[in-house]
């Protein structure tokens, strides 16, 4: 404290050289030893209050239509957890902050959670650039960061030990697991249309490799600039010999995209296979989407209740989140959920619970123990906690793997025609986070 006082009384007769000296001294001081008051300020007190979970939500920006449903799913799961007695006897509290679907704000929000809200962990991010922008801060502030992003960033080894994705399969395995079925049922000559985003490039690279392994070939790759509003002019690039058109779009242009696709081909079209990302939060009954009848989609979790007995926990999950059998909000049938992805929030929250219980989590001091506990998990059985299905977790890569669905548009609804096995989606680990220091 004396240090500060000298500084402020000096102000009046300060020269430039003095400033530089002080700056230098301060820098040296800071470098040499950890400043006592500072490290004190960044530490956190333990508490017997609720376990606080920072929810990094896309309330505004391009992720907002996903963010809304991520929030609803999270709140539903949190409610259930609390109704069942919370975690380690403590209730959980979801603290939500909007990240604007922006990586800069995302990093700021992580700081806010860690320091101001003093949450125990951060959770719930979807968009990859927000995850990657926030991850370094989570690592530096040593706060566990559970993402629900389906990006390959976690398993690629680019992030750090504090980042985990235990609730949703990553894009690499999703894409890989589609190739065998696509190759043997739809065709071998594939044209891909994807956004010129890293996410689109992942689809391009992983699918190209996977379909080649099936004896197929990607004959044309059409990367659409993300600023595009209209897609029609790109369709002539689709080669005539195309047997399968593989599309994955994201963002608000998706509706235009699929409408124009239908317009372009009419009835004489190749097989069309897409990722439901192209239609998340979009009503299949929308005018112009009739042309999708008979086409196929990947779905993480089938939007329409299948009633085929394959998934006994879907109905329970649906009811708790407030979604009807068509994947729409119970209160507004035109409000379509992001059903294929949002289950990840639910399942992640339960894994956090499981991890905290295994680690006997008491407070921020046990954060490393929590991560180690989650890393030690190997599989999650299907159940109310994991309604989408059973999963295998790889503690080294911090990534989970689950079954995937292929659905066909039949009478304006998505009907599952194939379920992959978990084994279809596994690949060689690219990283071992457990060897990194905390």
């Amino acid at each position: 404290m004396t240090e500060q006082k000298t500084n402020s009384t000096k102000t009046k007769h300060f020269t430039r050289r003095d400033t530089l000296k002080t700056l230098g001294a301060a820098a040296g001081l800071a470098a040499g030893s950890h400043l006592m008051p500072l490290s004190g300020r960044y530490a956190q007190a333990q508490s017997s209050e609720p376990i606080r979970i920072g929810f990094q939500a896309h309330r505004t920006g391009i992720g907002a239509s996903y963010g809304r449903w991520y929030e609803r799913t999270t709140m539903a799961a949190a409610q259930l957890i609390n109704d069942a007695g919370g975690i380690n006897g403590r209730p959980i509290e979801i603290v939500t902050e909007d990240d604007g679907t922006d990586p800069k704000r995302g990093a700021e929000v992580v700081e806010k959670f860690a320091i101001q809200h003093k949450t125990d962990i951060v959770f719930g991010t979807l968009f990859s650039h927000v995850v990657i922008g926030s991850a370094p801060r989570a690592g530096e502030l040593k706060i566990p960061y559970f993402v629900v992003s389906e990006g390959h960033h976690v398993a690629s080894g680019k992030l750090n030990r504090y980042v985990l994705q235990p609730g949703i399969t990553d894009v690499k395995s999703q894409v890989q697991s589609m190739a065998p079925w696509v190759g043997s049922n739809l065709g071998k000559k594939v044209t891909m249309i994807y956004p010129d985003f890293a996410f689109g490039h992942d689809h391009r690279d992983y699918f190209s490799a996977a379909i080649a392994a099936q004896g197929g070939e990607v004959i044309e790759k059409i990367a659409i600039p993300p600023t595009e509003q209209s897609f029609f002019k790109y369709f002539p690039r689709i080669p005539k010999e195309t047997e399968v058109l593989y599309h994955v779009m994201v963002g608000p242009g998706v509706l235009t995209f699929v409408k124009e696709l239908g317009e372009f081909f009419g009835s004489d079209r190749p097989q069309i296979f897409g990722f439901i990302d192209s239609l998340e939060a979009v009503d299949l009954a929308n005018p112009g989407l009739e042309a999708l009848e008979g086409t196929y989609f990947w779905e993480g979790f089938p939007r329409y209740a299948q009633n085929d007995g394959a998934n006994p926990h879907d109905a329970f999950y649906r009811e708790k989140v407030g979604v009807d059998a068509n994947g729409a909000s119970l209160s507004d049938p035109k409000d379509i959920s992001t059903y294929a992805h949002m289950f990840g929030c639910w399942e992640t929250l339960y894994i956090i619970k499981q991890g905290m219980e295994a680690a006997d989590y008491k407070g921020p001091a046990d954060r490393a123990k929590l991560i180690e506990a989650v890393e030690s998990f190997t599989d999650f059985p299907e159940g109310p906690e994991h309604p989408q299905g059973a999963k295998i977790f790889n503690g080294q890569t911090h990534q989970v793997f689950g079954i995937q669905n292929i659905s066909q548009v039949t009478d304006g609804k998505l009907k599952v025609v194939h379920r992959t096995s978990i084994e279809d989606s596994l690949y060689e680990p690219e990283v071992d986070y457990t060897k990194m220091a905390f």
Binding site: T60, G67, D196, P236, F265, A281
Partner: protein, 307 residues
């Protein structure tokens, strides 16, 4: 390297050059038509009031969102809902713009810099309003009619072709309004010299409010026309704003003919360059092309100085 690979002669095997050009031209024409109408609104506001209206794209967005709202309120045929939207959405948007003019711009005495800030503020307010009241989802509006025009090589939306024609009629209408009527004369007089116009008894304040509302209405009309082929979305205003700015500058300030021509140039070049290059590279090249036109013809292709 990547650049060379992407100059593609190879893929005309997918569609012959002729039909591809036809398709690119049609797409370019739709974009040009809607852009011309939107940009004209910006150009009028810019020309008469010297206001750079950064919220112009939000008026476009509001037009689209209101079109969804109005047509979803009305049951009956899509045609009925659409016509109602075509009438009422622009009126509501125009009304809002008039209020914004009276409450904000007028008090700023139309100072060019201050109005930029104020319209950025307006942009946020409108955008947030749409997000809160309308939601983050993209929503469709049914086309009033639709049929697929089957060319031998590909199918095309009949509605899109009608959009081109409708925009042309609208543009002619605005041209007649500006050159053949007393309203147009008053606007031009105000544009030419505000003080003199005032001295001649022209109610300049009311003209400004009217022009600002009219400019916003043009954007809203354009949005209502195009929204059945796209979707209404709360962040959709940015692109039309940027493109309109480019069109207005390239076309030359206050030149109706220039604005339309520039919209055609930009719409078509955007469509046609995509035949030859990777899509993103095509966007890069067309953007550089237009920027270079501005750099070496700073006053625009067809107009006089734009300060």
């Amino acid at each position: 390297m990547k650049l060379r690979n992407s100059i593609r002669q190879g893929h005309f095997d997918s569609m012959d050059f002729g039909p591809y050009l036809l398709l690119a031209t049609l797409e370019g024409a739709v974009q040009a038509a809607v852009l011309a109408l939107t940009a004209l609104g910006l150009s009028l506001v810019f020309g008469v009031m010297r206001v750079v209206n950064v919220a112009h794209g939000e008026f476009f967005m509001l037009g689209a969102v209101l079109a969804w709202w109005i047509s979803s309120l009305l049951t009956g045929t899509p045609l009925f809902g659409f016509l109602a939207a075509l009438i009422f959405a622009p009126l509501i948007v125009g009304g809002l713009a008039a209020v914004a003019d009276r409450l904000i711009l007028k008090r700023l005495k139309y100072d060019p810099e201050a109005t930029i800030v104020a319209t950025i503020g307006l942009l946020y307010i409108i955008q947030q309003g749409a997000l809160t009241l309308y939601g983050p989802d993209a929503r469709p509006v049914a086309a009033p009619f639709d049929f697929r025009v089957s060319f031998p090589w590909f199918g095309y939306s009949g509605y899109k072709i009608s959009v081109i024609l409708t925009c042309m009629v609208m543009l002619l209408g605005v041209w007649a309004l500006l050159t053949r009527t007393r309203i147009g004369l008053i606007m031009r007089a105000t544009q030419y010299d505000r003080e003199t116009a005032q001295a001649f008894g022209i109610p300049v304040a009311r003209v400004y409010t009217g022009v600002f509302a009219f400019g916003a209405m043009l954007a809203a009309v354009a949005a209502v026309l195009i929204v059945p082929t796209q979707q209404a979305y709360y962040l959709m205003g940015l692109d039309p704003l940027l493109l309109s700015f480019i069109v207005v500058i390239i076309g030359g300030l206050g030149s109706l003919k220039g604005t339309v021509l520039a919209a055609v140039v930009i719409g078509l070049s955007d469509g046609i360059i995509t035949i030859f290059f990777d899509p993103t590279l095509a966007k890069i090249l067309s953007t550089i092309l237009v920027a270079m036109i501005l750099v070496f013809r700073p006053t625009g292709l067809f107009g006089t100085a734009t300060r």
